[in-house]
């Protein structure tokens, strides 16, 4: 399916002069990027960052196994957190769309609260305050729960935007067929709403995944925490951070690709075959 890109919407198709200009500037930009990379590598070489001892331990399987374990924990925390955030966000969205003033007020307040407080504060709360209240949580939940809570308000608002984007006629048609408001929400409105907001939800999943890097605060052995262990073991900060950054970038890139695939997939089979 050919997706209409933002570029198609914002710019007209370039003519010959514009195409020439684009070619020239593409060349200039590529040259600039190459120069920048060369500069970075030279700086590394001059300051001794390319020395063997900073990189040799990446040849060991144990290093990768250790990072892999961390990555697994990171993914587990991110996905669990995202699932909880979705459940909480859905509940808050339903609350905010209620006619009941009290329910709506409470939901709105919770949404604004969770959106307004930085994730790190929630983490400190679960790390320092919750144990004092006599609630014992493992390190995993001490990072997962605050990340989920921090994201749920944004998820609620994204879902609400999706629900509001469904044309009113869809609801009216369902009402005229004798469906109750609850049934028509689940059968008619929400299935359409979720399609509208898949990209926002995946973007929020990426944010949750990045928030889990705060796991070192609660000493949960995620990718970031394990990276820190490697750094102190081998006294090699830059190389480890560089490798870990590449891993994070790859995962988030894949998630964004997934978002594109889902956007197409979630159209009904018939629609897809027609577009193909």
């Amino acid at each position: 399916m050919k997706q209409t890109s933002i570029r198609d919407l914002l710019y007209e198709t370039p003519g010959p002069a514009a195409r020439k200009k684009i070619r020239v500037w593409t060349g200039v930009a590529l040259a600039a990027i190459a120069a920048l990379i060369a500069l970075i590598v030279r700086q590394f070489a001059e300051t001794g960052q390319l020395a063997e001892r900073y990189w040799s331990f990446f040849a060991k399987a144990t290093t990768w196994r250790f990072l892999g374990q961390g990555l697994l924990t990171t993914l587990e925390a991110a996905l669990t957190g995202a699932a909880i955030a979705f459940a909480l966000g859905f509940t808050l969205m339903r609350g905010k769309l209620r006619r009941n003033r009290i329910l709506r007020g409470i939901s709105t307040a919770l949404i604004e609260f969770t959106r307004g407080v930085p994730t790190l504060l929630f983490i400190y709360f679960f790390f320092l305050v919750v144990p004092q209240m006599g609630w014992k949580l493992s390190a995993f939940w001490k990072i997962t729960l605050p990340c989920a809570i921090s994201a749920c308000g944004v998820v609620a608002e994204a879902l609400r935007a999706g629900v509001n984007a469904v044309p009113k006629g869809q609801t009216e048609a369902a009402l005229s067929l004798g469906m109750t408001e609850t049934r028509l929400f689940y059968r008619v409105v929400f299935p359409q709403a979720i399609r509208f907001v898949i990209p926002s939800l995946i973007a929020e999943l990426v944010i949750v995944l990045k928030d889990t890097t705060f796991a070192y605060v609660v000493t949960c052995a995620d990718l970031m925490q394990n990276a820190k262990v490697l750094i102190s073991n081998y006294d090699a900060m830059l190389s480890v951070y560089l490798v870990v950054a590449v891993i994070y970038i790859l995962i988030n890139y894949l998630l964004n690709k997934l978002s594109d695939v889902l956007a197409v997939r979630l159209h009904s089979p018939a629609e897809r075959s027609a577009a193909a």
Binding site: G169, A173, A174, L175, S176, L177, M179, A270
Partner: protein, 248 residues
């Protein structure tokens, strides 16, 4: 004097949109098997009137009765009375994320608790009847406007309604698609379906209507049989309206 209970009855219905008085003391009866067409200039309140019947628009005062039962303000009773009255919209409003077939089976299964298999067979029969059976597996966006509206009529029929409301069913259609929808409606009328139709299609109204209601400025100005209305309109406003419509 007709002694049977009307399928649809409005008693002294009033409605405001803010300061605008859109329905002024409307009383109206539609009997079983009757085809009532509402005509009038835009802004006269005819669409609003149509939408109040199944409470898609609320009313300020007055009463609406379906089969002699007053329309409640909310709850399951309201839903079950709505299920008795089908509605066809100007913009079709087929469920965009479902196939045409699923559009037709959703409410019968969900509301009437008809078995899935039976609902599907009934749906295919109805799609056949309105001439879009070959589109059953497609989603609404893949159909032409005329096909979508015919499918929407079939969706209303799938609920085995006692009456169907048509709110300007051809106003969003290209000229060549209007007739295919009007043909379906004409055949429904001759099969004895009770219909309340808001439309701008004068020839269709004249041919199909048992009764014509002319509205202007939120009021029912005239109510008569179609021949009388089109040949000898009683009111000045109806004459102006017909002149404006026929002058081109």
């Amino acid at each position: 004097m007709n002694m049977e209970t009307p399928v649809i009855e409005l008693r002294h219905v009033d409605k405001h949109f803010g300061l605008l008085h859109v329905l002024k003391d409307i009383s109206l009866k539609v009997y079983r098997g009757e085809v009532v067409v509402i005509l009038g200039p835009s802004g006269s309140g005819k669409s609003t009137l149509c939408r109040t019947v199944n409470r898609l628009e609320t009313i300020d005062s007055g009463e609406i009765l379906i089969d002699g039962e007053p329309m409640p303000a909310e709850g399951r009773k309201l839903a079950s009375l709505r299920a008795k009255i089908g509605m066809v919209f100007q913009s079709f409003n087929l469920f965009a994320h479902m196939t045409i077939l699923d559009n037709l089976t959703l409410a019968p299964v969900d509301v009437l608790r008809i078995g899935k298999k039976e609902a599907r067979m009934e749906a295919m029969r109805l799609l056949e009847r309105v001439g879009v059976a070959d589109q059953a597996r497609k989603v609404p966006a893949q159909l032409s406007g005329g096909q979508q509206q015919r499918a929407a009529i079939a969706r209303a029929l799938a609920m085995r309604p006692e009456a169907i409301l048509f709110d300007e069913p051809t106003s969003a259609l290209d000229p060549e698609m209007i007739s295919e929808v009007l043909n379906v409606m004409t055949s429904l009328a001759s099969d004895g379906m009770t219909m309340l139709i808001v439309t701008h299609e004068m020839n269709f109204a004249r041919k199909v209507a048992d009764r014509v209601i002319f509205m202007d400025d939120g009021m029912i100005v005239e109510e008569s049989d179609p021949e009388a209305f089109f040949l000898h309109p009683q009111s000045e406003r109806a004459r102006d309206f017909l002149n404006a419509v026929h002058s081109h």
